[in-house]
């Protein structure tokens, strides 16, 4: 089981969710986040003073998937979240030791 964390542009959320559903991934956690990589922020004005806002709104998706679905999930995210511009985001993958369904104490990949 592996955890996929994807930081994406908020405007891409619907497309990414649909693409993941198509490859069979239904469960995920979605967080509102702020951040930046190499993308410069934007300037805002307050009382004539210019200041840079470099904490930009992002969406972070987290999902734990069985090993055999990882590459499909990654491809789904890449194709739906990419716009080609700086600020598209990143995907991180890590190994998961255990997954447990709270309702019935089911463990392992069948709990996903």
């Amino acid at each position: 089981m592996q955890k996929i964390e994807a930081v994406i542009q908020p405007s891409k959320l619907d497309a990414v969710k649909d693409a993941l559903l198509e490859v069979g991934i239904e469960g995920m956690t979605i967080l509102e986040a702020r951040g930046h990589g190499r993308q410069k922020g934007h300037t805002e004005f307050y009382r004539g003073r210019e200041y840079t806002v470099d904490l930009l709104p992002k969406i972070k998706l987290e999902m734990v998937v069985p090993d055999e679905l990882v590459e499909k999930a990654v491809q789904a995210i890449l194709s739906s979240a990419r716009s080609g511009k700086i600020g598209d985001g990143k995907i991180f993958i890590s190994k998961i030791d255990e997954a447990i369904r709270i309702r019935n104490d089911e463990r392992g990949p069948s709990a996903l």
Partner: protein
């Protein structure tokens, strides 16, 4: 007897009985009766005028209170950081409660009782003698309590305006103590001088240097704005200012607040006519035109300078215009009001964008830049644009109107305005310095550095403004 016959008999008696009063009246008119009827008619007309005036004045008083809560509370609340939103709103709200009691106890008397040219007496402490009978000097058609409550709303909003200068760093207890003292020692004397019987600057009751101030350009805006500057300088900058960006946490709230201020200002200015007649109309129209003119000029100035007109700029412009038109509202022609607005928007924009940064003071919510500067400009322009055609405030011994302002040929009035403005500046600076020192020595003015970083909502009030997780 049969019940039906009883009923018929009773009906007959009642019908004939009700005719008796008609028979009692003498049909022919006699001399005494016409004079009586005339007197009665005169009383009825006077009552109708009083009713119209009182109705408008009570609405106006409500509108002015709305300017403080929620108008100013929202306007200021939106401009501060999220961690200080409640504390900021609470400062305005506290004035609504505290100043009200203070007014009843002593400060109404100090402002509006006759006394010296500079301060009223104590005859009206605990509102003694303030009943429902009019005071002919102030408002012959209004119950005196209407006048009192209307003036109270002004006394409430004036200290509330000052809170913008020391936002995000002043102790609640210190703020309350300071503003109570300020209301007694700065506001009441200034109100007395401009509007009170025998006041040094009173234009309608024969003051030595008649200052034209229709609704409080000097009494409210210059005093609060200049006092705000003194506070900002005395208390010092917020931790992190100016390096750290401290943008408003909700321009949405400020927007709503500003619009409530605009609408409420109709009560502030048009209500200062102390009646519902054509002078109220003039003041109403001028108020609106001043706001619009200034919103335009601020937006244009910002558009040109920064490339984009901001919402915050638009509403700030409107407020600046409303401030500037306040002393002029019941004295100028409508087109003059537009000009005053256009000038005020550009001037206050300049004060807030350029001058504040030149000197580096942390007038957090631009109380000085908008109210102090706007009020000063407006008071000067009132001397220029006051027209006796709108309001014949100066009259000769026969009751004929005399020239009001420069447009009428009376350039001397500009000098009088400067005297009034100068006095407002002096009393504000001196009074505020002394009172700040006093409160600093006793209670201490600023919160600690840690408290300021954590935020006033939690540290002063034990609350959080927004808890979206719950």
């Amino acid at each position: 007897m049969h019940p039906r016959i009883v009923k018929l008999f009773l009906a007959l008696v009642l019908c004939t009985g009700s005719l008796f009063p008609a028979f009692a009246q003498t049909p022919a008119a006699s001399a005494g009766s016409i004079a009586d009827q005339l007197a009665k008619l005169q009383t009825q007309v006077a009552n109708a005028q009083s009713s119209a005036d009182n109705a408008w004045m009570l609405v106006s008083a409500a509108l002015v209170l709305m300017m403080t809560g929620p108008g100013l509370a929202l306007f200021y609340g939106g401009l501060v950081r999220k961690k200080n939103v409640l504390a900021t709103m609470m400062q305005s709200f506290a004035m609504m409660a505290i100043i009200t009691v203070l007014w009843a106890l002593v400060s109404y008397s100090l402002a509006f009782d006759s006394g010296t040219s500079f301060i009223g007496g104590l005859h009206h402490i605990f509102l003694r003698g303030v009943g429902l009978v009019p005071d002919t000097d102030y408002s012959p058609t209004l119950p005196l309590q209407t006048f009192m409550i209307y003036q109270l709303m002004f006394a409430i909003i004036t200290p509330a305006l000052i809170t913008g200068a020391f936002a995000e760093r002043m102790k609640f207890s210190a703020m309350a103590l300071f503003l109570i003292l300020w209301s007694i020692f700065v506001y009441s004397p200034m109100a007395h001088m401009v509007w009170g019987k025998g006041g040094f600057l009173n234009a309608s009751l024969g003051g030595r240097f008649p200052t034209l101030d229709f609704a409080g350009g000097t009494v409210v805006h210059v005093t609060s704005g200049v006092s705000a500057l003194v506070c900002a300088l005395y208390l010092g900058k917020r931790v992190g200012y100016p390096k750290e960006a401290m943008p408003p946490h909700s321009v949405v709230l400020s927007f709503i607040g500003a619009c409530l201020l605009w609408v409420g200002w109709f009560g502030f200015n048009a209500g200062s006519a102390l009646g519902s007649g054509p002078l109220a109309t003039s003041a109403f129209v001028n108020t609106h035109f001043g706001a619009a003119g200034a919103a335009l000029s601020w937006m244009l100035a910002e558009w040109i300078r920064s490339g984009k007109p901001s919402a915050l700029g638009g509403i700030s412009g409107a407020v600046a215009g409303l401030v500037a038109i306040t002393p002029a509202a019941g004295f100028v022609q409508p087109m003059s009001a537009i000009v005053i607005g256009l000038l005020a928007g550009a001037f206050c924009y300049f004060m807030v964008i350029k001058v504040k940064n030149w000197f580096g003071y942390d007038d957090s919510l631009d109380a000085f830049g908008v109210h102090g500067a706007g009020g000063t400009l407006g008071a000067v322009l009132t001397g220029l644009f006051a027209s006796s055609a709108i309001n014949p405030i100066f009259k000769d011994a026969q009751g004929n109107p005399l020239p009001s302002g420069a447009v009428d040929g009376n350039w001397h009035q500009v000098l009088n305005q400067l005297v009034g403005i100068g006095l407002a500046w002096i009393i504000s600076i001196v009074g505020t310095l002394i009172l700040l020192k006093l409160v600093d020595l006793t209670v201490g003015l600023r919160v600690s550095r840690d408290q300021e970083t954590e935020g006033l909502d939690l540290t002063q009030h034990g609350e959080e403004g927004y808890d979206f997780a719950s």
